[in-house]
């Protein structure tokens, strides 16, 4: 085949692949996602969107139930929400057994062709939402209140079983993070291979301090002092031993967990020595005051998006080279480049030295724009295996990246009788949890994507050879082009996620006179916008839990409506 024809075919491939990459960058949701629609208060459209996008029986069935549960929860249809969440829990349990045939299918297609199994941190969020739903139902139904309060505690016990197992696997927060010498030493050895900065240090999801705190509140509400004491104690130690630092939460929250611990120890009685050790301060509580816990879920967690890379075999430096292909608007392209540079690019001293040793001086300078995997002596094996030939026209690698976090809230306050009462403090950052999970998975994901695409390219090439397209002519190249394009189509990254999760969870514990009160939650945004949500709450003699959801981008008409109720139970 003449050089001109070969060049034309190559150009044609690059054009088609670029076109496909562009097409693949479109998300499943053609317009607004369920989370965005829910943010605007359009729950009907949001549910229709979920029904259209996910099947109850398909690979995305878990997301169908999770998104529906969130939407029902926001609509205050708590029973329907819990039905969906119960199905989601059953599904997650069934996913424990991995299907070997599905794993094989993923290897020959892509992760989007597999069943979506969710993230480890989804299960605590499911139990928390279920418990909040039961708590709200108890407040709405005086006849079945006890049954619903007990049901909320069942959720907390199930969550405890899960968190105990997680803690056993991860080590939890039993000691301060800095004392974890073994983990630190292992990290120091692996650091140059993985990431150029301290980005991946202490980002494991090891336990959930907020879940323990909320559990303490619910047990206290049901006057189960022993269980409440254990949960507050766990929350306090975890916030102190690294949870607050990992999720960038204020130091005061461990003090609030300590206050809860002291309160339930006093109520239970018999903890005089322990109370002396905790050095309680005067909280201003009187025998006539009642405790109220307000939980505010704010915004929506950041989106997972797709980052495309072109994989080629470079015979000069005997290496596989990945180059990012930036798509989307300016912000998205910038985010894609930062993600690539942060996690994958040859920017560490180790990578720069490696490129220099290979004599590829150009790549020493270009390191920030490429990821080079030098094969060295393995290059000849790669040629024999056909990898180099299979990558003749390049292959598309797709991985996920997380859109940059956008915390629009400056602070939020609880107001009573026209006066500010207290500030709602951040108790958990689901945004950072999502980001850290994405960072943690990034390297494994790119390695899996890389090996998957090489296997696909090799299999396609072998199939072509079998049917007689091994010739290096126009027909042969067109056949190679076709397989390359087919592989590019199936190479999509797995950007599936539970989109309606909140970005941040804020909590305030206040002591109020027993009886009924009208409280207002004021949320202040960086834009200067203030959202006010008010509700009539009852403070009893034990503890009462109330929750609300605040959306940052709620339209102004809806923000005005929140003066009556948005979703506070």
């Amino acid at each position: 085949m003449s050089a001109r024809i070969k060049k034309a075919v190559t150009l044609c491939i690059v054009f088609i692949q670029a076109f496909l990459l562009n097409a693949c960058s479109i998300t499943q949701f053609n317009h607004l996602s369920p989370a965005q629609l829910a943010q605007q208060g359009d729950f009907v459209q949001a549910k229709q969107n979920v029904i259209k996008s996910y099947s109850k029986t398909g690979n995305d069935r878990l997301l169908y139930h999770l998104e529906m549960a969130s939407l029902f929860h926001l609509e205050k249809n708590y029973l329907a929400s819990n039905e969906q969440l119960a199905i989601a829990i059953t599904l997650i349990e069934s996913f424990y057994t991995q299907s070997v045939s599905e794993l094989a299918l993923v290897q020959l297609s892509g992760p989007t062709y597999s069943t979506y199994k969710g993230k480890a941190f989804y299960l605590p969020q499911i139990h928390i939402m279920k418990a909040l739903n039961y708590n709200a139902l108890a407040k709405l139904s005086s006849d079945n209140a006890q049954y619903y309060y007990d049901a909320a505690l069942v959720e907390m016990r199930q969550l405890d079983v899960f968190l105990n197992q997680l803690k056993e696997q991860s080590g939890g927060y039993n000691t301060e993070q800095d004392n974890d010498f073994l983990a630190k030493n292992v990290y120091q050895i692996l650091k140059p291979i993985f990431a150029p900065t301290d980005l991946l240090e202490n980002i494991d999801y090891k336990d959930d301090a907020f879940a323990h705190f909320l559990s303490g509140v619910l047990f206290e509400q049901s006057a189960e002092w022993d269980s409440a004491r254990l949960q507050y104690e766990r929350a306090m130690f975890m916030y102190e031993n690294g949870f607050a630092k990992q999720y960038q939460l204020p130091e005061q929250i461990s003090e609030q967990a300590r206050s809860g611990l002291i309160r339930v120890m006093r109520k239970a009685g018999g903890y005089e020595n322990e109370l002396r050790a905790l050095k309680p301060t005067n909280t201003g509580e009187t025998t006539q005051s009642a405790n109220v816990t307000l939980v505010q879920n704010i915004g929506i967690a950041p989106k997972r998006k797709q980052l495309n890379l072109m994989l080629r075999a470079n015979s000069e430096s005997k290496a596989l080279v990945m180059t990012p292909i930036l798509l989307g608007n300016y912000k998205e392209r910038q985010a894609q480049m930062r993600w690539f540079q942060m996690l994958h690019a040859d920017t560490s001293l180790f990578d720069i030295m490696q490129n220099y040793m290979l004599g590829d001086l150009g790549d020493v300078a270009m390191g920030a724009l490429t990821k080079r995997l030098p094969l060295g002596p393995l290059w000849d094996d790669a040629v024999k295996l056909g990898i180099v030939d299979a990558l003749q026209f390049g292959a598309r690698i797709s991985v996920t990246y997380l859109e940059p976090l956008d915390n629009q809230v400056t602070h939020s306050e609880v107001w009573l009788n026209g006066q500010p009462l207290t500030t709602l403090l951040p108790y958990h950052s689901v945004s950072l949890l999502t980001l850290q999970d994405a960072l943690k998975q990034a390297n494994a994901e790119i390695h899996a994507a890389l090996s998957r695409e090489i296997i696909k390219a090799l299999s396609a090439r072998k199939a072509l050879d079998k049917v007689g397209f091994e010739q290096n002519n126009l027909l042969g190249n067109l056949a190679k082009l076709t397989t390359s394009v087919v592989n590019a189509i199936t190479a999509s990254a797995d950007t599936r996620q539970w989109q309606t999760l909140p970005a941040e969870i804020r909590v305030a514990q206040v002591s109020l006179p027993q009886g009924e009160h009208d409280v207002i939650i004021k949320t202040y945004f960086r834009s200067g916008h203030i959202i006010e949500q008010s509700e009539h709450i009852t403070a009893n003699n034990v503890m009462s839990l109330w929750h609300t959801r605040t959306f940052a981008n709620a339209p102004s008409e809806q923000a005005a409506l929140t003066n009556s109720t948005l979703n506070m139970e």
Binding site: E93, Y96, T97, Q98, S99, V100, S101, D143, Q146, Y147, D150, A151, L153, V154, R157, Q158, D160, V161, N164, Q165, K466, V467
Partner: protein
Amino acid sequence: MKYNRKLLKLVPFAVISTLALSACQSTKVQRIDANQEVALSDKWNGKDSQLVSEAMISDMLSFPWVNDHLKKEGTRPAIIIQSIRNKSHQHIAVDTFLNDLKRAILRSGQADFVANKEIREEIRDERKDQELNASLETQNEMGQEQGADYALSGTINSFVDQQGGTRVTFYQVDLRLIDMTSNREVWNGQKKIQKLQERSGYGF
């Protein structure tokens, strides 16, 4: 010849595909005995409810309080169920368990049950309605209700121990019967159930 060889190579693939497809079957439903246990997980199920209620009631009626009451009052004791709190980690249909308890006691013929507060109020409303609308011969009088002699209450607790795919779940049901006149605890019963669940990490 070349194409025949290619076809031969495709045969095993075709056979495996056919077998794999034939393994897939659509939803199948069959009718089974309600007493037959179908344990799909280690969760509390209908069989647990039935076994615990039968064992508890059998134990309860073997205690001396039944004969003591018969000797003293000359009538069968009347029991009211106060509350059975679910303090386990599983959602348990307590009403189903209570109904199993009632059936086991009534079947024994040694004790009676008094309706709970909500049902009593419904019946009283019905009697009030009868006073206005029913004929004198068929009316039921107010103030003739039977008071309960004993109150039954209890809790369901559970513990879970888990390691990888193996999980041991332990349920403990505690019930007590209180003499409503003297507050004496005339019976205290306990039934334990332990379940082992093993799950495989990989499957087809």
